[in-house]
């Protein structure tokens, strides 16, 4: 136990509260603005106390195309995550339980593709998508999000699978369990919490993605990133609408993010931090 004087204790507490309030304040302000009228949201005197209205939420959910974009976001985020799990589970299984000389190299190579800037492959992807009619489609985005998240998913699943004792698998094999049995009946249930949080992280990352969504889609396949960026020239106008649309787009993921903080650190550091 570290000794600390009373003034010191009060000091660090005040500081910690101050930091949290300041960091969270812009998000709080966004949420607060979403309950104002458009005029009040852009008032010159910031309003902290007012009678809240749901008008902007009604506008976002009923009058705008919110659901079209939200469904695309769900489709691309969940779809790419499922693809990642389907491709990633066998790969991570092999890396954890059937190690060979090439395992480390393969893992490292996969992680290094994550260090390739997206802009380095933008032009060819755009041209190929144009020829394959994948431009402006949620399916096209799903494919690229799968490639974007696959290295992280494989890496995280690998770290979770390594915690499953190999003896269980050996025993099962002696009892005649097939490879598929091993994966589906033993490893996946034992590593289920890890698989779920890995999936959650992949959803968060795909949901928030902007570069590909803006460059590859315009309407049909567009996600909430594109929808919300439509407000970018709202200089003082429709701020309540903008805030409501933004709040609806970030809130579910913010809450998911709170529960994936640890996986996030593990996943986004690619094993560079132990």
């Amino acid at each position: 136990m570290n000794k600390m004087s009373w003034p010191g204790k009060i000091g660090v507490n005040l500081l910690a509260w101050l930091v949290s309030v300041l960091m969270f304040f812009p998000i709080f302000w966004l949420i607060l603005s979403s309950f104002k009228t458009n005029a009040l949201a852009a008032a010159r005197e910031p309003a902290f106390i007012f009678s809240p209205t749901l008008a902007s939420y009604v506008n976002a959910l009923i009058q705008s195309n919110y659901w079209h974009y939200a469904l695309n976001s769900v489709y691309t985020a969940v779809g790419s995550t499922l693809f990642c799990v389907v491709l990633g589970v066998p790969a991570a299984y092999s890396m954890a339980f059937r190690r060979s000389k090439r395992t480390d190299f393969t893992l490292l190579w996969m992680l290094s593709t994550k260090m390739l800037p997206a802009v380095g492959i933008l032009v060819p992807i755009y041209i190929v998508y144009k020829n394959l009619h994948l431009l402006d489609s949620a399916l096209g985005l799903t494919f690229i999000y799968t490639a974007m998240n696959l290295p992280i998913v494989v890496w995280l699943l690998y770290t979770y699978f390594k915690d499953v004792p190999g003896e269980i698998l050996e025993a099962a094999e002696i009892d005649g369990a097939s490879l598929l049995d091993n994966i589906v009946r033993i490893v996946m249930p034992l590593a289920l919490p890890g698989i779920v949080s890995t999936g959650l992280l992949a959803i968060v990352l795909a949901w928030n993605e902007a570069f590909w969504a803006i460059n590859l889609t315009s309407i049909h396949g567009s996600t909430l990133s594109v929808f919300v960026s439509g407000f970018k020239s709202a200089r003082g106008q429709f701020w309540a609408n903008m805030s409501a649309a933004s709040t609806l787009s970030v809130l579910p993921i913010l809450i998911a993010g709170w529960f994936t903080q640890r996986q996030l650190v593990r996943g986004l550091t690619f094993g560079a931090v132990k």
Binding site: M1, N2, G8, V12, N13, L15, A16, M23, F24, P26, I27, W29, L30, A41, R44, P46, L87, P90, A91, S94, R98, W109, M110, L111, S112, M115, L116, P117, V119, G120, I121, V123, P124, I125, V128, T146, L150, N208, A210, F211, I214, N215, S225, V228, S229, R235, M242, S243, S246, S249, V250, I253, G257, W258, Q261, L264, V265, A272, V273, K274
Partner: protein
């Protein structure tokens, strides 16, 4: 053979979606290829590279990229370290909840981050900071017009300080308590304990955060797209934004590809060190 069946699909998928397009980018960078000049074809040699290097906008974008990465790195790491030490202090009441709130900016979509700051916060007439400035008797500043790069750095810092904080916090909790205690018994003050016991333990994670953030900051796009659109002029145009403009405003596929290769090279310089570090970690664990 079975191993190949297990790993193969993931490897092939990444190969097709990452390395094949990269090879195509290299190919295009040596071709004459402009979407609005269909007759302009054939090998270009290094003409696209020469064109890009002679373009003052490219040079500006290159420098902007370095400034954005470097400034955001310094700020996120200094603040992240400070926040991490703060939330690691066991005397802070409710520190897990406080930490979660402080970490929140990291989960906000970059596009929404841009909107919050460029509109609700920094708008010179209706923004909260303008109201604050007026309240202090000052003339409100149009941050994004007059201080575009510092504003952008501020926005990126708000979004990414939580990342540095979370990584460092995870490493801080691994610093043995008795080590700190022993230092305290030997008469070391809080600063000395931090400087000589805690900081050396954080050397590796700090090194990792520098490289990881460099790679993530090199590709910042969403925040720029909604706040400044790379402007005013080229003041906040970074390499990704420059390449985006070359490809989709100038339709010059060749030049865009040459520019992209520079971005890849820049990322690779960092990636080499990062891969080496990950490799050592994997080896130590195996």
């Amino acid at each position: 053979m079975i191993s190949f069946l297990l790993i193969g699909p993931a490897v092939i998928y990444l190969f097709v979606w990452m390395l094949v397009p990269l090879a195509m980018t290299i190919y295009y960078s040596f071709r004459n290829y402009n979407l609005i000049r269909p007759t302009f074809t054939g090998w270009a040699g290094f003409a696209n590279y020469a064109h890009v290097l002679a373009d003052p906008d490219f040079l500006a974008a290159f420098i902007n990229t370095l400034v954005l990465v470097a400034a955001s790195l310094v700020l996120t790491i200094v603040l992240g370290l400070f926040f991490a030490v703060l939330y690691n202090n066991e005397h802070v009441f409710g520190r897990n909840i406080l930490r979660t709130f402080a970490a929140s900016p990291f989960f906000i979509m970059p596009v929404v981050t841009g909107l919050i700051w460029s509109n609700l916060m920094m708008n010179p007439s209706f923004g909260l900071l303008a109201a604050l400035w007026r309240g202090l008797g000052l003339v409100p500043i149009d941050f994004l017009a007059h201080f575009p790069m510092p504003s952008l750095v501020g926005i990126v810092t708000w979004q990414w300080t939580p990342f540095a904080m979370l990584v460092l916090l995870a490493s801080l909790s691994g610093v043995p308590e008795d080590l700190k205690e022993a230092a305290g018994l030997d008469g070391a003050g809080a600063w000395k304990t931090f400087r000589h016991i805690v900081l050396p333990q954080l050397a590796r994670p700090l090194y990792a955060v520098v490289m990881l953030e460099s790679i993530f900051f090199l590709v910042i796009f969403g925040q720029i797209y909604v706040t400044t659109s790379g402007g005013p002029g080229t003041a906040t145009t970074n390499l990704p934004y420059y390449i985006y403009l070359q490809a989709f405003s100038a339709y010059d596929i060749g030049a865009a590809s040459a520019g992209a290769i520079f971005a890849v090279i820049l990322a690779n310089i960092v990636a080499i060190f990062l891969v080496r570090m990950i490799y050592t970690n994997i080896q130590e664990e195996a």
